[in-house]
Amino acid sequence: MNSTRRKDRPRRSLLYIPGNSPGMLQNCSIYGSDGVLLDLEDAISISEKDSARKLVKYALLSLDFGEVERVVRINGRDTPFFEADLAEIIPAAPDAIRLPKVDSAEDVIEADRIISRIEAERGLKPGSVGIQAMLETARAIVNVNSIAAASPRLVGLTLGGQDLAADLGIKATKVGLELLYAKSAVVIAAKAFGLDAFDTVYTDVADLEGLAEAAAISVSLGFSGKAAIHPSQIPVIHAAFAPSEKEVAKAARVVAAAKDAAARGLGVISVDGRMVDAPVVAQAARTLELAVLAGMEVPEL
């Protein structure tokens, strides 16, 4: 099991797995998602909270998740389960916890404080468990910049589409354009502080075409990944993150030109007769990474 957080691992898709389902938990490594969100919150009824927490803990301790990132969505700070969740889950060393109902920097700081205490008590490497903050209210969106800056333990931001729409008093549509401002705010704050940004779920499991449309928007806004609620959504999400062959070819030319320029000590990089600068090179490198993840053929450089 890999408990050291890897900055460079893919996070295109995160699949929610109900924490009280042993059958689903034991198959986490085969659904094909980049990460799993083992859910102790909304998917679990009050009467099941204790058993789900135990089950997820032992799943983390005993099952092989392969290359799949292990994130546990615990219950929010405003619930009686918050501290118990952290007390049981942190010693099992997930890659991150997803903290729902984050309204302010205070919520993240409090979680960080408790996690740090548990890490110290258990002799775990300090800071090894990350936090993904889930913004689900208008207030959270207003506070997004201070939330993003709240803790070095923070690794990603995400929003809860359904709760946010409810808080705004608007109807959540499938594609979710009504949340455009909130989504952009989350993406920009995340980028500003070097965090990942995850888009909310697409709730209609049967409508894969609609999901493809929504995922394309997630990609265009700059999200690094999107949550999924059914394994059938994963290939669709991954396809949205896959560059086109034309983009890959162009990116390969850019990266090759940059290497060539560096080797020859040239400060100016030229591709197809045009000058390109450093950000374009960085973006081209990212395109190639995504192409590799998508299983596309990438020219050797």
Binding site: Y31, D64, H230
Partner: protein, 521 residues
Amino acid sequence: MNFECVKNSLGRLVPREVPGLGAMAPYAGAYSRLDGSYVWTSTAQPHRVSAPSADKIASSLRAAIERSGLRNGMTISFHHHLRNGDAVVGLVLAELERMGYHDLTLAPSSLGDSHDCVADAIRKGVVTRLNTSGVRGEVGKAITNGLLDTPAVIRSHGGRARAIEEGSLHIDVAFLAAPACDRLGNMTGSAGKTACGSMGYAIHDAKYAAHVIAVTDNLVDYPLAPRISVPQYLVDQVVLVDSIGDPSQIATGATRITRDPIQLRIAELAFKLIRSSGYIRENCSFQTGGGGPSLAVARFVRDYMKDNAITGSYCIGGITGYMADMLKDGLFRSLFDVQSFDAAVTSSLANNPYHMEADVSWYANPFNKGCLVNDLDVVVLAALDVDVDFNVDVLTGHDGVLRGASGGHCDTAAGAKLSVITIPSMRNGVPSIREKVQTIVTPGETVDVIVTEKGIAINPLREDLLKKARDARLPVKDIRQLKAEIERTTGIPDEVAFSDDIVGLVEYRDGTIIDSIRKLK
């Protein structure tokens, strides 16, 4: 029952001789009788010349049975094209019971979920010997619990065709359900409200049975046209009944593409393995079933062929509507249909001349001069259990009770260039890869690949496949490693306790005995 046994080449104890069944040869390798030197002699049977008739319609089922000359101790057969909707087996067995028949050998092409009536006929002594491919529900329990005095004989589709042709399985009276039939006995499965598609098994029984009775609920004007599956010259009598089966059940069959993520994962891995093997190419041939991940594999294959503009030669076997659509889309040039798995097939079979009906000997009989499976490139098969020697059990449930079917499993595995077994790593927490399967139906020698959601095991005999799969970066694992990985989650279950009594025999396609079925303790 205990018989003098001998170890066959797989180390399984099998009888040399069984009273009532005769002498038997132990299995000696999948191709031991297929090197061109093996000779068989057909058993001579008397053939009665029928008086010319312009109307073969019997006044009732009872009258037809009386006229057939059926006597106690004889063998009757049925086909299983009506799947779980079949009513004819029950109808005939009930009539035979009323007429006081006993001690019959029942030799249908297979039995399914609608045939619990057979267990009843066994209990009442109407049926005392059983030959079948499928053993489900009450029939499986009856055999496993030792209700038959003579061991049941389980044959593959190809093996049954062979046995009938050589005369080791002689059918005295065949009762053939006919979805459409005329007064002289021409019949087809591709018309009528109980249309079932191909009649591939029925054609073979009609050719070899001493007496053939068509049982129909859809008597059409003479001649049945334009398609005839079983021609009139093979048919002695026609019986009109109210219903030969439940149309809604005949249309069932596991033909939806699964949405189960585990099955889909297995299908995806199986497809990638097949792709890496290089067998999906211009003019390739392909067979897959309708259950579990099979159809999902077909979907991946279909998409791949479309994207790469590959046209296959043919598909064979149990045909689903999905395969018929692939034919329509031009992905394969033809279909050989021995058995249709769903109602979607019927219109294709009736209207598309490239969708051809094939009898079961043509499909899989290893002793004829060239069966379809011998030229097959890829077959995708399911299994109940597999073992570390790649042997496959498609008969025994985890409780030790028979609940499966031999089908064309061992025929296609032996014939195809690439045989792929798709199987979930565990069912209800019980691991699917065992040290030794309880009952060997398909020998590991003929199995190339086992695909589970947790990884792919390739038969060490196929170094070529192993290299290609590794080059394609597929999750290939040694089968013992895969087994151990699964057991980390499941543990190793206790073995089911069997007695030494032999209650069934699994005959390999070439007529040798590959395994014995033991009575449950």
